[in-house]
């Protein structure tokens, strides 16, 4: 994955705008979180400009708008970059977790946990710094893919660790330490969480199929039940989401994933048991050791 940025073009534009900015008497500030802040700056410059001719007052006003747009676009670029890094590194976590099997569960999860913590500390923290105030919603399209991937990685890891779903509150609590008390914390919003959850089911499907081919059918069946539950809960919630079209498409894919897992479990029960003993509680290395069988 190569992210090419025309950094030279960007720096050229920045230098031009700084030239313009120094002509105006207002010192360029950090992106004002709301339109009103910029309007306060505009107001003071307009009052000054009214004493001059119309021509230069337009120029003055527009130099303010230039500053505003430059700050906004630069911030947006930084957010996009951070989001891409979050995406890439979250994918690495997911690949790591996929390596799991009954033999290496501990080591795989340990490494995954470290990697996930690295994503949080190194990359999510950049988003925390950039997104303040109205930025959360204004720049959502810039950071949403990254956050979705992060949710996917974190929930995937949690499931393999404990078999449960990482809740939105829990994931947000883990992000609180990233920000200074003076800054607004980055809190993943409901929509990004649900979108990430939809992607999670795809990974779980892959995991289930993989585990089945290693004979770990019980694990796969647990995944199956888990994914079914998520799908069921989501059907109630998805139609209510903002711009629910993306999510509705993901729901179709999700149902296909559920069916794939169910079919795979079915196939191995029906056909596979004839040739290989299933990894059940009698296998001494199984993590189902000690579980009593139910005989009918």
């Amino acid at each position: 994955m190569l992210w090419l940025y025309s950094t030279s073009a960007v720096s050229r534009r920045i230098s031009v705008s700084w030239l313009m900015a120094t002509n105006s008497k207002i010192k360029p500030q950090r992106l004002p979180p709301s339109a009103a802040d910029s309007s306060l700056a505009l107001e003071s410059s307009v009052k000054r400009a009214n004493t001059m001719s119309t021509h230069s007052s337009i120029k003055d006003a527009f130099s303010i708008y230039t500053d505003y747009l430059n700050a906004l676009n630069e911030k947006r670029e930084r957010v996009v970059k951070a989001s891409r890094d979050v995406t890439m590194n979250s994918k690495k976590v997911i690949f790591q977790v996929h390596r799991i099997s009954k033999n290496n569960k501990e080591e795989v999860l340990e490494k995954a946990e470290k990697d996930l913590a690295a994503v949080t500390d190194q990359h999510m923290s950049r988003l925390v710094k950039e997104l303040q105030g109205t930025d959360f919603w204004k720049l959502r399209r810039a950071y949403s893919p990254g956050v979705q991937e992060y949710v996917e990685a974190a929930t995937f890891f949690k499931f393999c660790q404990t078999g449960t779903l990482l809740k939105l509150d829990e994931i947000n609590a883990s992000l609180l330490p990233l920000s200074d008390p003076s800054l607004e914390p980055l809190q993943i919003n409901l929509l990004d969480y649900l979108l990430g959850l939809a992607d999670l089911t795809g990974e779980l499907m892959r995991l289930a199929i993989g585990r089945i081919s290693d004979g770990e059918v019980e694990f796969a069946e647990r995944i199956c039940r888990f994914v079914r539950d998520i799908y069921r809960e989501l059907t109630l919630v998805v139609p209510l989401m903002d711009d629910s079209l993306d999510m509705k498409l993901k729901m179709d894919t999700m149902l296909q994933s559920v069916v794939k897992i169910e079919n795979a479990c079915f196939s191995v029960r029906v056909r596979g048991s004839e040739y290989t003993p299933l990894l059940g509680s009698s296998d001494p290395s199984s993590f189902l050791l000690g579980v009593s069988d139910v005989e009918l």
Binding site: V46, I58, F62, Y68, T164, L190, D229, G280, F287
Partner: protein, 300 residues
């Protein structure tokens, strides 16, 4: 003996089409009527119905365990989500209702302003249009109140009022120019709409796009003014648009909607230049005497 059981088992199953979606595992207990098999293979073959399997695996998982239905904390979380989303959905409905009213008030304002192309006297036209501004001010106030209920989410719902706001800015800017010959500033536009507080302002990009829409109206206005005999208009409009264009060129625009609108402004400027040229070379610009056929030629 084992193989016989297996064959019988598979015979039972094969009678039914192996439709994976059918819950076929419930047939498995029926096999036990043959006899209780000693082999571990059959023991592991899921005489565990899905229910019992869940219970047995539940006992090994530490922490939250999967109950036969999804765990209560899972249900709770999604119930909370559902309530949140329903609330935001209701808020969005209310926003859309106000925006519909804004839209119709805008259309009325636009209709009155369009009279300017038919050479109705400007003060009269402006009078009618200005009356609408107060209506709009109230409606935007209403909108601000609704949005205030979810602080910080201006941009979540921004798309719902974005295009109407852009249209309104263009109308206000046009009116301002007709009155004063100058450009309506962002702060002035905000004031006219009563959007002066820190939670519901006028987005700068909306303002800039609105200005571009205003410039789109200029060529048509100029043409109609010349037809009606006002030969001074092109010069004024040309200076104005040139200044505006120069100001816009200061902006570092990325390839988005605003950029496209700015590009279209170049064509407006060119059209006005053509009209000004036509009027100038025929010596019409200096005096307002020759009307009629000279005027119509000015439109080529």
């Amino acid at each position: 003996m084992k193989s016989a059981f297996r064959n019988a088992y598979y015979l039972t199953l094969s009678r039914f089409s192996l439709n994976p979606n059918a819950s076929i595992l419930h047939l498995v207990p029926a096999v036990s009527t043959f006899s209780s098999p000693p082999s571990s293979v059959f023991k592991n073959l899921s005489f565990r119905s899905p229910l019992t399997a869940t219970l047995s695996s539940a006992s090994m998982v530490g922490g939250d365990s999967d109950a036969p239905q999804s765990s209560p904390s899972l249900e709770k979380q999604f119930e909370k989500f559902r309530v949140e989303l329903e609330d935001s959905g209701i808020l969005r409905e209310r926003i859309r209702a106000v925006v519909l009213e804004i839209e119709s008030a805008t259309r009325l304002m636009q209709a009155s302003l369009l009279l300017v192309h038919q050479s109705k006297p400007i003060p009269e036209v402006l009078e009618k249009a200005k009356a609408r501004i107060n209506v709009l001010k109230d409606l935007y106030n209403k909108l601000a109140e609704v949005v205030r209920e979810c602080p910080g989410q201006y941009y979540r719902y921004h798309g719902d009022w974005r295009s109407e706001t852009q249209m309104i800015v263009s109308l206000l800017a046009f009116m301002h120019w007709l009155e004063t010959g100058t450009l309506l500033m962002h702060t002035e536009a905000e004031e006219k709409l009563g959007l002066n507080n820190s939670d519901f302002g006028l987005d700068v990009e909306d303002y800039l796009i609105g200005i571009c829409f205003m410039s789109n109206e200029m060529p048509r206005y100029v043409v109609n003014q010349v037809t009606a005999g006002d030969y001074d208009c092109p010069r004024k409009v040309l200076t104005f648009l040139t200044d505006l264009n120069a100001a816009f060129r200061m902006l570092n625009l990325r390839n988005d909607f605003l950029r496209k609108k700015f590009d279209s402004m170049k064509y407006d400027l060119r059209r006005v230049e053509e009209v000004y040229y036509d009027v100038k070379i025929r010596g019409l610009a200096t005096s307002g005497d020759s009307v009629g056929d000279q005027g119509t030629q000015g439109q080529s």
